[in-house]
């Protein structure tokens, strides 16, 4: 690969920012680059990163999914409630995944059949799924002490925490889907110009239902990791996390208009956000500033992106 091609590659820029941040933070605090902190960081990033993978696909298709935090809670509550009823934990896990996928499928059906814009449809689901989680549990959090979930939340494999493997597998599979399959090609076409896609015979509605079902499924995967880490399933878990997932995608440089961007950059975007939180924590700076800084980073990231595309 030659230099100009390297420079225009969207991964290069965002990766440089991430590496730069890591270097600066490790100079500022000797604690940053320790194994303990890195393990911590990768656990912190895992939930948002998994959600961001699904969100990236949705945003590339020209849509948005505001419901992922609520769907996560809904799936987690299904898992917790089933385990409390002495259902086999593996079965409960599968049921949780099915529940999340189902919620995403409903999103897709509402968007394509009832022609409700994604923002509104998933805003509705944000309320519905959270409400269902509260109704099912009566607002109570169930402890989940099954070995399966404790393993997912707390064990390591080859020195790396298990949630990290969830993240890596998620991005690997979603990356292959987006760049090697017909489905991925259709996602980019729909995001690029939906009417053209339709006129060229792409089954736009069917693909959109798949896209939102995928986002729901990944919310459920995040719920599995979350349940393992918390060893409980509080129905109020992961509130407003959808905004972090969207922020990760945007910081990663995925175009909000759709049709452009790489899913993998959302992972780096999530990492950058986690490093801000983590870095300010270990530097002892008030967490109030974290929100300010993340807000600034989002705006600057998009601004830089605009600059890049205007001198294209």
């Amino acid at each position: 690969m030659n230099l100009t091609k390297l420079k225009s590659n969207p991964i290069v820029w965002i990766l440089m920012v991430a590496v730069l941040m890591a270097v600066v933070l490790s100079f500022l605090s000797p604690f940053f680059m320790t194994v303990g902190n890195m393990t911590n960081l990768s656990k912190q990033v895992s939930i948002v990163a998994i959600l961001a993978a699904g969100q990236a696909v949705v945003i590339i298709s020209g849509g948005i999914d505001l419901s992922v935090g609520s769907v996560l809670a809904f799936s987690a509550v299904i898992i917790g409630t089933l385990i409390k009823m002495d259902v086999d934990p593996t079965l409960a896990l599968v049921a949780g995944l099915v529940a999340g996928t189902f919620a995403g499928w409903i999103n897709g059906m509402v968007i394509t059949r009832a022609k409700i814009p994604p923002f509104i449809a998933t805003l509705g689901m944000l309320g519905i799924a959270r409400g269902m989680a509260l109704v099912i549990t009566g607002g109570v959090s169930h402890p989940v002490l099954s070995p399966l979930f404790l393993f997912i939340g707390n064990s390591k494999f080859l020195g790396l925490p298990i949630p990290l493997y969830f993240v890596l597998v998620t991005f690997l599979v979603v990356g292959i889907m987006m760049h090697k399959t017909v489905f991925g090609r259709h996602v980019y076409a729909i995001g690029g110009n939906e009417r053209v896609a339709r006129l060229q015979g792409i089954p736009v509605d069917r693909q959109k239902v798949k896209i939102y079902a995928l986002s729901g499924f990944l919310a459920a995967v995040a719920a599995v990791v979350m349940t393992g880490r918390l060893a409980a399933t509080p129905p109020s878990v992961a509130q407003a996390i959808e905004l972090q997932a969207i922020a990760a995608v945007i910081i990663g440089g995925v175009s909000f208009v759709g049709g452009r961007g790489l899913v993998i950059t959302a992972l780096i975007g999530a990492l950058i956000m986690a490093m801000i939180t983590n870095g300010l924590n270990i530097l002892g700076i008030s967490s109030f500033y974290q929100q300010v800084l993340i807000g600034v980073v989002i705006i600057v990231a998009v601004w830089l992106d605009n600059l890049k595309s205007s001198n294209r």
Binding site: N193, L199, G201, R260
Partner: protein, 254 residues
């Protein structure tokens, strides 16, 4: 001159959008190896008529016959299965994708859902070079290409999938003179191969020199269908505006 059987016949097509009657009882036929000019003022129903043929709209009433058999076209893929390819003026390509992705959009070469990018790229290169279309790189987004290059890709796509009927809705409207000429040269090439072409344009001079027959619509109804050279350019213009056939020509034909 004994005419061959028509490739396409659209019979008694009506279409209303709510209260608006965009087409009423419109007819159209295309023969192999001819360019049919479809004319009419803005809003006459030209695009609606060809969208019905292309599967992008559905008729409220009427029937379509292809090679003499009734065809049921319920979507773009049905139309393509009949060999109908369409070049929409503005809606032809996805700007964020490269030429091969656009050429194969909706009918990607794949195994088990996995794209065969290499095959698509090679086939695209072949298809474009067969038409003498030169494009710097097949990897660039089509958004960065000129209007003529983009139109050439759309035409390349239609030809590559063995169009028998090619619909071109204002294919030269956004193009410069040189690029228009390129598109028309390509079209003449296709005509020689026996493809039936429907050509929509507001450029009367172009239509007069380029088409074999014309069909004029006015307010969604047929005004006249005749060989182009039965009329003068001025007569055609006046029929488009007035919506009434010119008397003299009708007498001559009888």
């Amino acid at each position: 001159m004994a005419k061959p059987d028509p490739l396409v016949e659209m019979r008694h097509i009506s279409r209303n959008f709510g209260g608006l009657q965009a087409l009423s009882n419109a007819n159209l036929e295309v023969y192999p190896g001819e360019v049919l000019g479809l004319l009419g003022h803005n809003g006459a129903g030209k695009s609606t008529l060809i969208k019905i043929l292309a599967g992008a709209e559905t008729a409220s009433e009427g029937a379509i016959f292809i090679n003499g058999h009734e065809a049921h076209i319920n979507g773009p893929n049905d139309a393509r299965a009949y060999g109908i390819e369409t070049i929409y003026q503005e809606l032809a390509l996805c700007g964020n994708l490269d030429a091969p992705a656009n050429l194969y959009m909706g009918r990607e070469i794949s195994n088990w859902g996995f794209l065969n990018k290499k095959a698509m790229k090679e086939e695209t290169a072949k298809a474009l070079s067969r038409l003498n279309i030169r494009i710097k790189s097949l990897d660039t987004e089509v958004e960065t290409m000129s209007g003529g290059q983009r139109q050439a890709i759309s035409i390349g796509r239609a030809v590559h999938f063995n169009a028998k009927i090619l619909i071109m809705d204002e294919p030269t409207a956004a193009l410069g003179m040189e690029e228009s000429k390129m598109v028309m040269d390509l079209t003449v090439e296709l005509k020689k191969q026996g493809i039936g072409i429907i050509w929509i344009s507001h450029d009367i001079h172009e239509v007069y020199n380029f088409t074999d027959r014309i069909t004029i619509l006015h307010g969604g109804e047929n005004v006249v269908t005749a060989p182009t050279k039965d009329f003068t350019e001025d007569e055609i213009v006046s029929m488009i505006i007035s919506g009434r056939p010119v008397e003299r020509a009708a007498n001559e034909e009888a």
